[in-house]
């Protein structure tokens, strides 16, 4: 299935940004670029950046002044000719450039098209391909950086020493089995046992980052709940700084749940506005209530919105009873009003973080945003740098850890080396799924390099 057409896509996230990169891949990448430049002889040096004016191919009107980089086949990401146009980041402008390219004959890329070509053309392995998929799916900058790290083989690089250490354990155990007649040094049982524990720990540390990693990729799910008219929708709008939710004075206006993605310091946060919680006979409102409960169940964090101008109602208290198993914080709303009193919750809730805000003026929102992020443990994100975001990777790591534990157990029970090795080889195979296979030949070579074997 050789790819013969030339495809185009916007490679940077949609939306207003400093620059926007448009990427062409395929045999006609350069031809189409020439048409856009109105320069038939344009032959840029590969991997060098050239500054040029882009024109509308029909009218000749100048569209933008762009940096052009040419990656010559096969030394490119997809293995095909690639041209990257770094334009100014206006969505409208970018759209016009892409439209121009489509009008000349380029095809709009389907999701994953670039990766597929890279794979087909042997330019990347599956781990890299999966990282790219994450890259495409990545919704915010932190996630993009994360995906980039994985692509650079950082995961492989992190796992390689673990794999090497594993092979180092396998070698004496395997030698003891295979070369029983040889004059081999005695096994250092204590060292092997400790090493097994430490390897499992290293993998575990890496696997632990999966939760944060997944949050990074999928976004944190935050649900806003509260009594009708506590100001959830206003709060929602203020958080998003857009006018999406319908805001009225009539309690129970939000009957559906609305969700919107928000970018908090580079972390994607999916905020869901829910219907107010109260006893109601209105069937539509009751339906909304069901959705609210589901939103609570799905959420990584619940923000309870309470009207700080009134005493706590029975409905408020009922809400807290819904939150037994959930991480939540409280936004005490309407602190711009005189009747507001931050002591409304005194004696009722102590241990939960409570922030006074005004959805109307925006007061307290900095604090609220920080509190949202604080409720997630991003320690690993800061110090480790690397995170597991892909559930297949997580699964393989977990299996490798289990395998090491079973080996450790067999070793402690002083079972014969053949039992201990089962788990070690399994672990090696699982890690191999992430970093490349280890053949018996590799192990044998290590044995012969380590010990003087043979009659």
């Amino acid at each position: 299935m050789p790819a013969s057409d030339t495809i185009v896509a916007l490679s940077t996230p949609t939306g207003r940004s400093g620059i926007g990169v448009i990427r062409l891949t395929g045999p006609h990448s350069l031809d189409y670029t020439r048409l856009l430049l109105r320069d038939e002889l344009f032959t840029p040096e590969p991997n060098r950046v050239t500054l040029k004016n882009l024109h509308d191919p029909e009218t000749g009107e100048t569209l933008d002044r762009a940096l052009i980089t040419y990656f010559k086949s096969p030394r490119s990401f997809t293995g095909e000719d690639i041209v990257e146009l770094s334009c100014h980041g206006s969505p409208v402008l970018l759209l016009r450039v892409i439209d121009s390219l489509l009008s000349i004959g380029a095809r709009a890329a389907d999701p994953g098209d670039f990766t597929l070509r890279a794979l087909s053309n042997g330019r990347m392995n599956l781990t890299q391909a999966e990282a790219i998929r994450d890259l495409i799916d990545a919704q915010t900058h932190t996630a993009v950086r994360q995906a980039t790290r994985q692509l650079d083989g950082e995961l492989s690089a992190r796992l390689q020493p673990v794999k090497d250490a594993l092979i180092k354990i396998i070698v004496p155990l395997e030698s003891a089995l295979e070369f029983v007649e040889d004059d081999l040094p005695k096994l250092a049982a204590e060292g092997i046992s400790n090493e097994l524990v430490s390897l499992a720990q290293k993998l575990d540390d890496l696997a632990q980052t999966f939760r944060s990693g997944r949050l990074l990729k999928d976004g944190l799910k935050v649900a806003l709940v509260g009594c009708p008219n506590a100001g959830k929708s206003s709060l929602f709008n203020r958080l998003l700084s857009i006018d999406r939710a319908i805001v009225t004075d009539i309690p129970g206006t939000t009957r559906d749940s609305l969700s919107e993605l928000l970018n908090l310091q580079g972390i994607p946060v999916l905020v869901t506005d829910t219907a107010g919680v109260r006893v109601s006979n209105d069937p539509i409102e009751r339906l909304g209530m069901g959705r609210t409960r589901r939103a609570i169940a799905d959420a990584d964090l619940v923000i309870v919105v309470i009207d700080g101008t009134r005493p706590l109602t029975l409905d408020d208290k009922m809400i807290f009873s819904e939150l037994a198993e959930v991480t939540y914080l409280i936004a005490l709303n309407k602190n711009d009003l005189d009747s507001f009193a931050s002591s409304r919750l005194d004696g009722f809730i102590d241990s939960v973080k409570c922030i006074s805000v005004s959805a109307k003026t925006g007061a307290g929102f900095d604090q609220l945003q920080r509190a949202i992020l604080d409720s997630f443990d991003f320690k690993s994100l800061e110090c480790e740098g690397l995170l597991i975001t892909n559930s297949r990777h997580f699964d393989l790591l977990r299996r490798a850890i289990d395998a090491l534990h079973s080996s450790q157990k067999a070793f402690r029970q002083r079972l014969s080396e053949d039992f201990v090795l089962v788990g070690l080889y399994d672990a090696l195979r699982f890690l191999g799924e992430l970093t490349g296979e280890t053949t018996p030949e590799t192990i044998l070579s290590q044995i012969f390099a380590s010990f003087c074997i043979g009659k």
Binding site: G122, L126, S406, C452, G454, K455
Partner: protein
């Protein structure tokens, strides 16, 4: 060309070493009229290196050969003079029998075995050419002008192809010490287009036992109760001997270092690659300078000779220097060398040019077995010989070939490795080469393979009857242990509890009890024997216990295996064109095309295939609508 032949056979086997003997015996017993042609009929089944058979993984191979109906196991059982089951203290899967052979008795017994085989004819002579018509083998030509006709030819020439012996700076052509090499056959193979390479192996000096100070060496005896190789052997009748262990010393090492330029291994004279697991003493000293002594085994060559094999001292140093080296070993000060050690270089053919049935892709009806395929070891050679003999015979009857999978036999692992990965040094079997070594125990070779041997016509009626009885006993004992529970109120419960030391709960099955790591097999056997209605054969109880012991591990392994290999069954269509994967490199395309994998698992195993190429293939396979 006039096609006249002096004699006509169905199958011709060239070379009567360990591969050739198995091949000829199997082909003949399967009903093919078979000629075994060798340079010297007096050296049939010669052990050209150390006089021993078996060892870890190698012993497994011999058991598998025997289970399929091969002859090596029976011959060594009749001629073995020291038997040891290796790895007794370890898990049953990695235990393996080994035996020291009386070299002359082994040859003799092998010749008797072959001569008593119907349909099998021995011929002496040197093969110098093949007769080939339209890519199909028709027969061979001998140096003495005889022409032999056959539909299938098994080539098992060992180290004889272009053999070149090195002792110090002196070299001469030879197949083994004192025997001529096959020079013309080697050049003929090259001419036919076979990819040839060069390998090397070596032997140590043989000493006169009457000149050794035995008191300086530690004796090593065989097992009290020898474990035979063949499932049909009940007793080992040969008187058993003792071997001895000694060590080299710094003095020996210094002489080697001072004279290293005399060694053809280090002077650049030898280009062939040697086996890493049979290093010469020069290699050991140079590569492991921190080791101040190396182990030596003094192995008597037989009952009726004083010749002693100095195992561990393989060398190609000049003969004069070998004297000096030997005399520097404690206890060998006065020892005289009967035959000096030497290194030998020989040609092999790239086994990647073979089908799974060991037939060459170039010439129909031509099969290769043994060292010509780049392997080392008698057992490795013998199992290939058996498979090549079986397939040559099937081929003459136009029947489908016979092969074994990696998961059912070490033989399957060995052949699969050879044809997929080729060799870059002499290939030896190891248990770690088998992904499923826990399931490939030496004691279950017959349970795994005898049914195949029977179907092929290689397992005789008596052996088959014995096998079936054994299989039934094992399976009923297994069922009994699993189904019999001992309750706290039972008298036997106390006996079990006493020998375990921990609480056994309200009731426990024999099977559950048996997997405890502190099992005392004698006590267990006597307790089980009180309830079991038939008698329990010790090694059969051990087999059942091993099955129970490994079951959990094997299950886990199977699960993991199936998860990891989830794409293995993706089918590669017959008409799939690797050239259409636009950007596979030519090298990758050639590798794929050479093997023509029928599914992803086969593609995955091709040697030298890069992960990127596999990912590319996988992407395309997943795009193919099913």
């Amino acid at each position: 060309m006039i096609m006249s032949f002096d004699e006509k056979f169905d199958v011709l086997v060239i070379g009567a070493g360990h591969a050739g003997c198995e091949a000829a015996s199997a082909a003949a017993r399967m009903g093919a009229s078979t000629a075994l042609v060798t340079l010297n009929l007096d050296l049939i089944g010669q052990m050209s290196c150390n006089p021993a058979i078996g060892g870890i993984a190698k012993g497994h191979l011999v058991r598998e050969i025997d289970a399929l109906g091969g002859i090596m196991g029976r011959v060594i059982d009749r001629t073995g003079i020291q038997f040891r089951l290796l790895n007794r203290s370890r898990g049953p899967a990695v235990q393996s029998p080994r035996a020291q052979a009386d070299r002359a008795l082994y040859r003799n017994e092998m010749r008797i075995m072959l001569e008593s085989t119907p349909n099998l004819y021995l011929r002496q002579g040197e093969i110098t050419d093949f007769v080939i018509k339209e890519g199909q083998i028709l027969g061979v030509e001998l140096q003495d002008t005889r022409r032999l006709r056959a539909d299938a030819v098994v080539l098992a020439t060992g180290t004889f192809l272009n053999g070149l012996i090195h002792t110090g700076k002196k070299t001469y052509t030879a197949g083994r010490s004192g025997e001529p090499a096959s020079i013309r056959l080697a050049s003929r193979l090259k001419q036919l287009g076979f990819m040839m390479g060069r390998l090397k192996t070596g032997t140590p000096p043989r000493l006169d036992g009457r000149t050794i100070d035995w008191a300086q060496f530690a004796p090593q005896s065989g097992d009290e109760e020898p474990v035979p190789f063949s499932f049909s052997t009940n007793y080992i009748n040969q008187p058993q001997i003792t071997c001895f262990i000694g060590y080299t010393n710094e003095h020996v090492h210094r002489i080697i270092r001072d004279n290293i330029s005399e060694s053809p291994l280090y002077s650049g004279q030898i280009t062939g690659v040697g086996p890493r697991y049979c290093p010469s003493i020069e290699d050991k000293v140079i590569k492991f300078p921190s080791k101040n002594r190396h182990q030596l085994f003094l192995e008597p060559e037989g009952h009726n000779t004083s010749e002693v094999y100095l195992n561990g001292f393989s060398t190609s140093m000049p003969a004069g220097l070998q004297h000096q080296l030997v005399h520097s070993v404690l206890g060998l000060e006065e020892a005289s060398i009967i035959r000096p050690g030497y290194a030998i270089e020989y040609d092999y053919c790239d086994p990647k040019e073979l089908t799974p049935f060991l037939q060459t892709l170039r010439i129909k009806g031509l099969f290769f077995a043994g060292q010509i395929n780049g392997t080392t070891g008698y057992e490795e050679a013998a199992c290939q010989g058996l498979l090549a003999g079986i397939n040559a015979s099937l081929y003459t009857r136009k029947k489908e070939g016979f092969k074994l999978s990696r998961s059912e036999a070490y033989i399957g692992v060995l052949i699969d490795d050879l044809i997929n990965h080729g060799v870059d040094e002499p290939y030896r079997i190891f248990t770690s080469r088998a992904e499923k070594r826990l399931s490939l125990r030496y004691d279950t070779a017959d349970l795994r393979l005898s049914a195949y041997g029977r179907d092929l016509g290689l397992v005789d009626d008596i052996s088959w009857e014995n096998f079936n009885a054994r299989r039934n006993r094992i399976s009923s004992l297994h069922k009994f242990l699993e189904s019999t529970r001992v309750k706290r109120s039972d008298v036997l419960y106390q006996e079990l509890a006493q020998c375990s030391g921990t609480d056994l709960g309200d009731s426990i099955s024999f099977a559950e009890f048996s997997v405890r790591s502190d099992l005392n097999i004698k006590v267990f056997r006597s307790v089980v024997g009180k309830l079991y209605q038939s008698s329990i054969i010790n090694n059969e109880l051990k087999t059942v216990l091993a099955d129970l012991l490994y079951q959990g591990y094997i299950n886990i392994q199977e699960n993991n295996y199936s998860n990891v290999h989830k794409y293995d069954n993706l089918v590669i269509p017959n008409n799939f064109s690797f050239r259409d994967l636009s950007t596979l490199s030519n090298e990758m395309i050639e590798r794929f095309e050479r093997v023509c994998p029928s599914d992803f698992s086969e593609a995955r195993k091709i040697s030298g295939i890069t992960p990127v190429a596999l990912a590319s293939l996988l992407t395309h396979l997943r795009l193919i609508p099913t």
